[in-house]
């Protein structure tokens, strides 16, 4: 098991390296350099920089250096000091902007993953055990619609529905009175009252495919020889199904975390924008629209890296629960 984890950890390094390169390329991509946009933006607000100041900024970010050196400088600053440059639309270090919003993004993403499972697993099991029942058909239909309904549309629809019903527009994770307030129990309760909606909306998108996978695997598993063998031992049916085929069918689901997680992170961004949540999504969008590329690139890198790490954790989890994989991977 330890050998397996170490191996996976080593494998993740080139992955993270590639991600950082891709992120950095997006910073360099836009025509016109960061400084030009920066200066233009300042000029728009009536602040004219002289040549000396401009050169100072060039120096500060190493922007007069070749791209490779710029990358080394950027990564070096990130790895050593956690600095990722400066955002000009927020006029603050990128690190501060990201750290302020990242925890909420992470919480929503993880909670959505959990909710996805909480919805999908029971429905998937039910569908497979009662194949062709009314409930199975209903689940299948809902699954198909869920697959086709982009979650920002669902967010829009629910937002409209809440507004029509209560006359209150969803304007983020906190009610107005708690927006700038320090953390307190009341604020936390207020958060719980608001956060469920985006979580359910984001989770809804992933459930459909999860249900389909679980249903298909379980249908396959429940007719396998070991189920008959175990039944012949005299195990009660419910315990038999839960202990054997369901456990086996859950495992492939764990390996789907690898692609559900990116999906959820994507969904989180777009739903946050629709519902105006205080997460990284709207910041990324604002940065992209304002060509604040250090912020864009850094957010892309952080989100992608965290997703990759999440995938790694799910891989380890899978190896932990499935002896076959543990066995196989240690050997190879």
């Amino acid at each position: 098991m330890r050998a397996f984890i170490v191996r996976r950890l080593i494998l993740i390094i080139p992955l993270l390296f590639l991600i950082s390169v891709i992120s950095f390329v997006t910073i360099l991509l836009p025509p016109g350099s960061y400084v030009e946009t920066y200066v233009q933006n300042l000029e728009r607000t009536g602040f004219i920089m002289d040549q000396g100041q401009i050169e100072a900024i060039y120096k500060q970010y190493g922007l007069d250096q070749p791209a490779v050196l710029q990358y080394v400088l950027w990564m070096g600053n990130f790895l050593l000091k956690g600095e990722m440059g400066r955002s000009f639309i927020y006029q603050r270090p990128v690190k501060d902007v990201i750290m302020e919003r990242l925890p909420m993004s992470a919480i929503i993403a993880l909670a959505s993953l959990v909710v996805t499972w909480l919805i999908a697993v029971p429905i998937g099991i039910y569908s497979a055990l009662r194949q062709y029942s009314v409930g199975d058909y209903v689940a299948t239909v809902i699954g198909f619609v869920g697959l086709a309904l982009p979650n920002f549309l669902l967010a829009l629809a629910i937002g409209y529905w809440v507004f029509a019903g209560t006359g209150r527009a969803i304007t983020g994770l906190f009610s107005i009175e708690y927006k700038g307030a320090p953390w307190s129990i009341d604020k936390f309760v207020d958060l719980l009252g608001n956060i469920w909606l985006p979580i359910v909306v984001i989770a809804s998108a992933g459930t459909a495919s999860l249900i389909r996978i679980l249903r298909a695997t379980l249908l396959d598993e429940k007719n396998k020889q070991y189920v008959t063998t175990t039944r012949a031992k005299g195990l009660p049916e419910r315990r038999l199904i839960m202990k054997y085929p369901v456990r086996v069918a859950i495992n492939p689901l764990i390996s789907t975390i690898g692609w559900t997680l990116p999906f959820i992170v994507s969904g989180e961004i777009i739903v946050s924008q629709t519902l105006g949540l205080e997460t990284l999504g709207p910041v990324l969008l604002a940065a992209a629209l304002g060509e604040d590329m250090f912020l864009v690139g850094s957010i892309v890198m952080i989100l992608s890296s965290l997703t990759v790490v999440g995938t790694l954790l799910s891989d380890i989890l899978l190896a932990w629960v499935d002896p076959r994989i543990r066995f196989e991977r240690i050997r190879t």
Binding site: T230, R231, G234
Partner: protein
């Protein structure tokens, strides 16, 4: 044999009919089978694939998936401690049925490779059975029983192997472990459904020897299902020959081998090479097995039979079962004195 020592009877199957009711029609997989199994004896059931021998075995433990499978008629009488239970009348999921499975009747299957759940240790799957049937006070006692069982079936290092996962066992070892699991509650009857079909020949011999040894130790009865005549002749005391869901011939091993009566049994014998006899030409049984979906209403073997008697064998009614010799039953008009 089956008649006079009724006190030793363990299982009696009378006129069992297990049908699969599908949209495209009803498949009469088992269609009126009688069998008896006595204490300490081995009953061999032979026949080609699709003849219903496996369905019969699965019916005994009510393992036939329903729908589409259903026991439409007949009795499966289990003689236990002086009482008689008709398994055919039980619900497959009922507690009384579950208490029989694994406890009174153990079963081993054809595919050792897939017969264990992949995510639990072999030991866990054996102790589970012991604990369900309350043969041990607690987990640790059950586990030590499991270790003993694994040793008994010839698994080396049972103390370590008990915590191994199925994929760490070879096919032969897995089959041994499955035997251990089937025997963990000392059943009166062990159903062995093609236990060695997917194993190498050398391992096959070891497994069969193991079964014979265990039978000698425990006095259990064995129902051995196989398409391999050599195995059955080696192991069985009595033999039932099945063809298309019917039991066409039933008698002691000697009677069936030395004096096969049914043309189908005779055909089977002609189609296998004999090791010690003179070198003869092998004769396959002509024709093909008719589809179980539209069985002929008379003798099911009529279309392939060399002794086919027009006007008699194709009568649209079940073939009578004749006791041609003492304890030697055959379902064939050739031996029906009223007809011939």
């Amino acid at each position: 044999m089956p008649k006079d020592n009724t006190t030793d009877l363990i299982l009696e199957i009378k006129n069992l009919k297990t049908h699969f009711i599908l949209n495209a029609g009803t498949i009469r997989a088992v269609d009126g089978v009688d069998l008896t199994i006595s204490r300490g004896k081995t009953l061999g059931v032979i026949g080609e694939s699709g003849c219903g021998k496996s369905v019969t075995a699965h019916s005994i433990l009510r393992l036939i998936p329903s729908p589409p499978g259903e026991i439409v008629d007949g009795e499966i009488l289990l003689h236990r401690d002086g009482e008689v239970i008709d398994i055919a009348k039980l619900k497959p999921t009922e507690e009384a049925m579950r208490n029989i499975r694994g406890d009174d009747i153990g079963m081993i299957f054809q595919e050792p490779m897939t017969s264990f759940g992949p995510l639990h240790t072999i030991g866990d799957q054996i102790t589970e059975t012991i604990l369900i049937h309350k043969k041990a006070a607690d987990k640790s006692e059950a586990k030590s029983q499991a270790v003993d069982l694994l040793r008994q079936v010839g698994i080396p290092n049972p103390e370590q192997r008990v915590d191994g996962y199925p994929h760490e066992f070879s096919g032969g070892m897995r089959q041994r472990a499955m035997i251990a699991m089937a025997l963990c509650c000392s059943p009166m009857l062990l159903i062995a459904d093609e236990p060695t079909t997917s194993l190498d020949v050398t391992i096959e011999a070891q497994i069969l020897e193991l079964l014979a040894d265990l039978q000698a130790q425990t006095g259990m009865a064995i129902m051995l299902i196989s398409h391999n005549l050599a195995i059955v002749s080696e192991m069985a005391d009595d033999i039932a020959v099945m063809y298309l869901g019917k039991r066409v011939e039933f008698g002691t091993t000697d009677a069936i081998f030395d004096n096969p009566l049914h043309p189908y049994t005779q055909g089977l014998w002609r189609s296998i090479p004999s090791v010690d006899g003179p070198l003869e030409k092998l004769v396959p049984i002509p024709g093909v097995v008719p589809s179980p979906r539209d069985l002929p209403s008379g003798c099911v073997f009529a279309s392939r039979c060399s002794e086919f008697m027009p006007g008699i064998c194709d009568q649209p009614k079940p073939v009578p079962i004749v006791e041609a010799d003492p304890d030697h039953f055959v379902a064939c008009y050739l031996y029906d004195n009223e007809q011939v």
